[in-house]
Symmetry: C2
Subunit: 604 residues, 2 copies
């Protein structure tokens, strides 16, 4: 493994210089946090990443989680990791102080998640799922549920999961059939099957708390009849654990993230005695779950960016160490010339800059979303609503771009290694396998794209979209005050305007009621939107870097190189990625639609 | 596994209707072959693919080749496969009748290779490498070498390999250090190490014949001092096998193609008694090897297309069987409506059409190259030279496009399965892993791109490039005679002209001696060139399909659908892929170069 998997300097640049975390921590809600505390929290996450998570990343892949004799086993250090995360307050990082959480700003939480995920993207799923599950109980659960579960979960003693998918209901939760029958004591009898339940069963915690979607008997059809339940693997009766009749039917053999088991569960299979407790009100389960899912989507985007970061530092280290071939400038002129380092080959540099442009741009976009979440938290009235709209608007983009392009970035990293990239001698082949799931789970890219175009662009009469374009324009105006950035500001402005025109063109179909035509190429619309967003984030980073260099803030060569490299990567993004918008705009305004339902016979 | 992994109808369409194989088989060299014989050969390859290769594809991945107790073991059916291939004359398919080969046209050989590789891309490496090694001996070896090796190799009794790469010399063979010391009996003592030797050692044949690059003591530095040797694992003395002192040091653990061992070999490690026999003249080894490598490059391109074909038919079958969600046109209107098949979602159709456009277009380009090889074979004088120039010109493109875009296509196939695509329940995750090596071995995409732009475009004063553009223009002119095709012909013409301008722009730097600037973005030039080539191949297929439909050739619905689907996929390629040229042309003519050697500090 390379010596480095993230840049702490870059995290601090983004947190303090670009997104100015202290703007939020001055508010009462976050007053227990200051700049020094932030850096300490980052540091404690890095300690866990360096000492527990990172060292077993390869091993968790080589010896994947297993299901044998009715037991699911995972790497024995998972327990140590979960405990350390609990002790550091990182499982409850988002939860309020009053329920035992750390009440951290989202920006800070995101930064810690980035480090930990880059070190070991498989192990963080254990604690990530516990956080998500516990936060649902904290937000929507009764006092009794909170008292029963939160302390144990935030401490890392109990595992949490999300049980959504069923064999017949994957992308479309509309069709779930798990049932909940009311019992006299106020609990429900749960019957059904759930698939792909990450960390759904394992030997490292004494209890697993499932947040489970099911339909109460007689509930309305479709998504409006879905309720949310807490379904523990061990329920508590008279202070004792009682087996809650949840059976692990099987484990999925996955291409990547092998250290985290994905479980096929059946509830009530043994003696029809699986109990669940309703969270919040009946039939509102999907709404509750969506709150968590939006966070989970950002989390998956972050996973994409973090894996791409790890791959980048692997490739960078290798490129600086591996001699191969002669530099193009002297090639063939001297057969006795020594080999050059591969970083001196322009194509290797292109592969590296592509990776850096993608994952640093992605991380910035995700932190931008986190910042909106924080600002929404400390704001009131229309301001609060606006920040929430911006967060909603960008969430699918911050899920889709970092994962889709992260997959490409890791592939570029693998390519730097030549044949070695395909072999287990380097972690690239693992990272390449691991990241592939990210554009699928928590809603595929197609689902994210339909949310972006089909819902977000038009919501509140287009207010969210308008707010977004205003934000981008603010950055463009500021960039234009620096000569060196004008060219890029103008390019972004042009693409932004074109994107608005394309949007209007497409919304026209929706207004005519032609939803199929409206959304046919939603995924390409997402690609376009993503490039504009990342261009915006690079311009933002360019401004801050330019300011730092002009103000002479950068002390020493390393600091100057840091800011210069930011500007260089920004230029790279505009030179190599931004031109792709043209093809997308052309496609999205083309009359020839070739993928509608009527054309099934065209594929054979 | 899906019922289908290739379309025999499409193979016959390409062989007989588009590339008119009988145009070649009327010449004396191929007179033992006619249309009936071609279909029989295709059929015998399909028999082996269906009955031996296909059924063990998953198993070879799950139980990969192993190295233990000094022995390399592979799947026990590999022997049966190699034997069947030998008996069917498919190991010697390219070799002349006089050395015991089948002397098939390249087009036919390519078509059989496509079927077999789509069925099991790992197992075909065993016989593919034997073919390549034997063909080198057949072409450049002495009578004695031919007599000793060819019969056994073409019969599938002995394995062949290619030993090029060394730990310090991967992409740059310039730096190999394996040595050959002349002995009195005319043989050479071989000392050195070779890595990534596919099928370099295993338990399914009694001998392994390495075609081995080494430097004769005192040879000139660099590539001009490399010679080619036959180095068997068992040499023959007095009619007996004698161990030839080749040691397997280790086996690579690969992400994919796990059924075929990649070996780290050492020669002369045990008792300094490894013997090799020179092939052809001293110091010409790389030139000889390059003949084989050009074929191998087309073979790797074919592997990309074939894996993408297998992935496509898996995804197509799944899309036609899996219900999920409601059609966009009725979404949300009726909560009780049943789920629709996912093929009815435009985005799934887009993913499928993308795959089909990529792999059928790729296969056509590779067959185009094969056709040029066949025409060169049966032609004389300038015509022969021209066909060879066209073949040379397009070979790197036919390696790079099918592999780079094949990787994307398989990824699109995987995406159709949602979470299932990430799991071993379906073959997609295996195909996704398998195909990733194809853009690396036999020269990475960067190497192919440098060959295309740095060598081929300018060779013979640009004659090869001129011939290529003439070929494209012929297709454009013909397409313009059909109203329905005019739009696409014009689009291709415009892109072709733009590509020529971009080429001139870049060649300008070469003429000024600025090689680094000339080749900095060669990989993007390749991408551009590839899209134009595949657009050309789709237009070609479009013309033939249009003609068939107009002539009423298509009898029955299936035939009409076949030709209509061809036209539909052509339209898709022009609508979704061709617009990407704009970004590439913009990039390639941009003044801002960000990847030159001077900018090393810009990456951190």
């Amino acid at each position: 493994m390379a010596k480095q998997y993230i840049s702490v300097r870059n995290l601090k640049f983004l947190l303090h210089e670009v997104f100015n975390a202290s703007e939020v921590t001055k508010f009462p809600h976050f007053e227990h946090i200051d700049k020094e505390a932030i850096d300490m929290i980052l540091d404690s996450a890095m300690q866990i990443a360096d000492n527990i998570a990172g060292p077993i990343a390869q091993e968790m892949d080589r010896k994947p989680s297993e299901f044998a004799n009715g037991k699911v086993t995972v790497h024995p250090d998972v327990h140590k990791f979960i405990q350390a995360m609990g002790e550091a307050g990182l499982i409850g990082s988002q939860a309020s102080l009053e329920v035992g959480g750390s009440q951290l700003p989202e920006t800070v939480r995101t930064a810690t998640g980035f480090s930990l995920t880059a070190a070991n993207n498989s192990i963080v799923m254990f604690t990530g799922l516990t956080s998500g599950a516990a936060n649902l109980i904290a937000t929507f659960g009764s006092e009794e549920l909170k008292n029963t579960y939160l302390e144990k979960m935030y401490a890392g003693e109990w595992q949490g999961t999300m049980c959504l998918t069923e064999p017949q209901a994957g992308s479309s939760l509309h069709y779930i059939t798990s049932s909940a029958t009311p019992l006299e004591d106020g609990s429900y009898k749960i019957r059904g099957q759930k698939i792909y339940i990450s960390a759904g069963d394992h030997d490292q915690t004494e209890n697993v708390i499932h947040l489970y979607l099911a339909k109460i008997d007689g509930a309305p059809a479709g998504t409006k009849g879905i309720s949310l339940f807490v379904v523990p693997s061990q329920r508590i009766e008279n202070g004792q654990f009682v087996d809650n009749d949840i059976t692990t039917i099987g484990i999925y053999h996955k291409m990547g993230q092998k250290g985290t088991p994905a479980i096929h569960l059946q509830t009530g299979a043994k003696r029809d005695d699986c109990r669940g407790w309703l969270v919040g009100e009946p039939h509102k389960g999907l709404m509750y779950m969506f709150q968590m899912m939006n966070e989970a989507r950002l989390g998956v985007g972050l996973t994409g960016a973090a894996i791409a970061s790890a791959a980048y530092y692997e490739a960078l280290e290798y490129a600086n160490e591996r001699p191969q071939g002669q530099a193009l400038s002297i090639k063939g002129q001297d057969p006795n010339a020594p080999q050059t380092l591969i970083i001196n080959h322009p194509d290797v540099k292109r592969l590296l800059l592509f990776q850096k442009a993608v994952f640093e741009g992605s991380l910035a976009l995700i932190l931008q979303c986190a910042k909106y979440a924080d600002l929404a938290h400390v704001s009131e009235g229309e301001q609060k609503e606006n920040y929430n709209l911006l967060l909603d608007m960008l969430t699918p983009v911050a899920k889709a771009y970092p994962t889709e392009m992260g997959i490409q970035a890791v592939s570029a990293g693998l390519q730097c290694f030549g044949g070695g990239g395909f072999c287990e001698d380097f972690p690239l082949e693992r990272l390449y396998r691991d990241i592939r799931i990210t554009s699928i789970y928590e809603g595929t890219t197609a689902i994210q794209s339909q949310a972006l175009l089909g819902r977000n662009v038009t919501m509140k009469n287009g207010k969210a979209a308008m707010l977004f374009f205003q934000e981008v324009m603010k950055t463009i105006q500021e960039a234009k005050t620096y000569d060196e950035l004008k060219k890029y500001a103008t390019a972004l402005e042009e693409e932004g305007q074109k994107l608005q025109k394309v949007t209007q063109h497409l919304v026209g179909f929706a207004m005519k009621g032609d939803l199929e035509r409206f959304l046919a190429d939603a995924t390409l619309y997402m690609e376009y939107f993503g490039i504009v967003c990342i261009g915006w984030q690079w311009l933002k980073q360019g401004i801050v870097s330019k300011q730092a260099l002009l103000a002479g803030k950068s002390q020493g060569e390393a600091e100057t190189n840091f800011y210069e490299s930011k500007l260089h990567t920004m230029r790279f993004f505009f030179a190599y990625e931004m031109p792709k918008c043209y093809a997308l705009a052309t496609r999205l305004t083309d009359d020839e639609i070739l993928t509608l339902a009527t054309e099934k016979a065209m594929i054979n």
